[in-house]
Symmetry: C2
Subunit: 255 residues, 2 copies
């Protein structure tokens, strides 16, 4: 039985809590948050506390907190024997106080409060300072997910940066597509199968190998027609220009 | 029985040929292409020709050709009684000679030669000059797909532009993510579930409503750290800057 104290109550904390609760061989003994209200969801399901000095003993203290409070909270845990891990993509393991047994347990996924997540397909990026602690985190990940990877803090920074490109920036391009459709009274539904197919394609092929469109063909007449259609939005024109140019540079087609 | 002559032998022609062949109540009577070699795939399956003056009579002539040859080829069909349609996202119906019964049959999907496509989920964008011809195209689309939409040439231009954002540009962002991973010896596999979830999310929610990441949070310390990691690639820095700024403008968070 792995016993966990969860610190935090946001999207990541909530999703991890659900996954831990549904798995065998795990128990969330307690959830901590500094504010009383945000603990409502957890109150009926496990012990809760707003006092950092009253944390229950456990195997793992899991800090699913905002990046900037991780160092400060970790300093308050220096008397603890548990393995203290954070769940952030962009914070180094060194943000945790070095008196601690410390580690990272970063689920690489986009979480929304209203949307259920299939944990079997979430990769966990793990880091610890010794093989025993890494083993504990691996066991924890295995119990709720199929996959885990050992990723150093340096690599994790790069991974998080990549995730911004393939998730946050991609989502904004979806939003631009939706905006263009709305302005011409075209149902956004028409684009949905294309969005899904574009993401599905790169599950089995390298994205660089399946690039299509006017940029890689250097189809100037289509590119110019598109830029004209975008005349009203300087922001979207800039996105169009820089991405067209980037595709051509990437594929050595710059003329 | 709807009889079709297919003009072209590229990705779109090949995929449509397969879909038509598998459907009931349709028959591809003939495939035309100007070059003999490119007809090899079709030769054992139906009649083929390289002579535009020897097209078989049919209900629909389907021009799955490069955008710029559509007007020229359509001029050679002016004696024909068939409904002549092209499959291009960015070409107006008016590119087809106005002596013709003309229309557009545009499958909004990304086609690769090696990848099978599930036609049930492809939306067809249809256009014709009268309701009878539109009805014929609807019937054709229904036989191979669940969905068709009546879309004018003006709307289709905008739709094609949107498709460049949500497919071609998105795929390049995947390629950038892959590149960043490769440089740090991180398996790109880690990002694949995130890519799929990001696309799945917007099947049921507006992308503008589910934007996440450092840009929308205006998390300057993460943004600055990312820009520093991108120092070696001016192109990727520019993409990062313009998309971060666009997300903030879009969501009214520009500071």
């Amino acid at each position: 039985m792995i016993e966990i104290v969860l610190l935090g109550s946001g999207n990541v904390a909530t999703h991890l809590f659900k996954a831990f609760s549904a798995a065998e061989g795990l128990r969330v003994k307690q959830v901590y948050n500094h504010s009383e209200n945000s603990l409502d969801f957890f109150r009926s399901k496990t012990e809760v506390t707003t006092d950092i000095n009253e944390l229950a003993p456990a195997d793992v203290y899991l800090l699913a907190l905002k990046d900037d409070v991780i160092p400060e909270i970790s300093k308050k845990l220096t008397q603890q024997k548990a393995l203290v891990v954070h769940t952030s993509g962009s914070v180094s393991i060194d943000a945790l106080d070095n008196c601690l047994r410390r580690g990272v347990f970063y689920p690489l996924q986009t979480f929304s409060k209203d949307r259920e997540v299939n944990y079997c397909s979430i990769p966990f990026c793990l880091e610890a300072n010794n093989s025993e602690d890494l083993g504990l985190l691996k066991k924890l990940a295995e119990k709720i997910s199929g996959k885990s990877y050992e990723i150093s803090s340096e690599q994790r920074k790069k991974l998080h940066l990549s995730a911004v490109f393939v998730c946050n920036f991609v989502n904004h391009l979806y939003a631009v597509g939706e905006q263009i459709c709305q302005k011409s009274e075209i149902p956004f539904d028409i684009l949905k199968p294309l969005i899904l197919e574009t993401a599905s394609k790169v599950q089995h092929a390298s994205p660089a190998g399946v690039q299509t469109g006017p940029a890689i063909r250097n189809d100037r007449s289509t590119i110019n027609a598109h830029l004209q259609l975008l005349e009203a939005s300087q922001e979207n024109r800039e996105i169009y220009n820089i991405l067209t140019s980037a595709i051509q540079t990437f594929h050595g087609k710059k003329l």
